[in-house]
Assembly symmetry: C2
Homo-oligomer: 127 residues x 2
Amino acid sequence: MKETRRHTRQLKVVWDAVKDETSHPTADQIYEKVRATMPNISLGTVYRNLQKLVGEKKLKVMTLGRTQHFDPMVDRHDHFICERCNRVYDIFVNSRKKIRPPFLSRRGFKVTSHQLALYGLCKSCAE
Amino acid sequence: MKETRRHTRQLKVVWDAVKDETSHPTADQIYEKVRATMPNISLGTVYRNLQKLVGEKKLKVMTLGRTQHFDPMVDRHDHFICERCNRVYDIFVNSRKKIRPPFLSRRGFKVTSHQLALYGLCKSCAE
DNA sequence: TTTGATGCAAATCATTTGCATGGGT
DNA sequence: ACCCATGCAAATGATTTGCATCAAA
C-alpha cells in the first residue's frame, strides 16, 4: 500500500496555475487558466490534481456556497468575505496564536488547526 | 415590493423540526424528520422554507464538504469539527468579544460578524 | 513493461426551478 | 378573489467516477 506519485505534465501545469494565486480561484477558473497552456487537459484531471495537492497540504480548500475555492498554503492567514460581492480577502489576525480552549482538552478533544472568517462589506461595496 | 409572509403549515413544521436541534442537520435529515408529521411534504418545500428561515436570521447555514447544515441561531457560538468522524460540536470561545481588526476599518472594510471553526479529533475519535 | 494518470463522457449528489394547483389572507 | 406557497418532476451546477488508453518509472 505505497503511495506512488508520478510527475505528470498536467500536475505541474495545475500547480503552476495556482501556486501564486491570491484570488482564491475555483476549479473551473483554474481549468480555464490551464487551458491556455495545455488546451486539451480535461476538467476531471484538474480536479484530480487539485485533490492531490490538497492531500499534500500544498493547497487549502475553502467552500463558499457550494463551490470550492483553492488557496495556496502560505503563512497561516484568515479570510474576510464580503457579503455583497462575495470577494475573499486574505487577512492576518493574531496569525501565530494557537487557539486551544482548556475546556476542550479537558474533555479529550485534540485541536490541530482553526479557521477564522470575518464577514461584512469590503471597501468598494461599503461606500 | 413588500415581503409577504404566509404562515403555512409546512413552514411551521419545518421550523419545529429545527428550532431545538443541536445536531446541525442537513436539509435531507430535516426532510426525513418532518415527514413523520407531514408525510407528503416535498423536499423542495423543505429547502424553500429553510431558505426563508435563514433569510429571517432564525437559522444559520454552515457548509461541510458540499452539503449545507442548518443551525438554529441561539447565542453566538463557534464550532469544533472532528476531522475523522465529521461531527460538529458547538463550542463557546470568547463568545462576546467582537473581532474588529483596526487595519480593516482603516481600509474602509465593515465587519459585521465572524465565524471561528476549530479542527481536530473529538474525544471518541482521539482515544 | 508496469501500472498510475489521463481524457472523455456518463453518473452522482445537493440544490434549485418551472409550472399547474392549492390554500392563506 | 388574489397571489404566494406547495408538490412534483425536470433542470442545474459542481464534482466524481468508469473505462479504455497513454505515458512515467
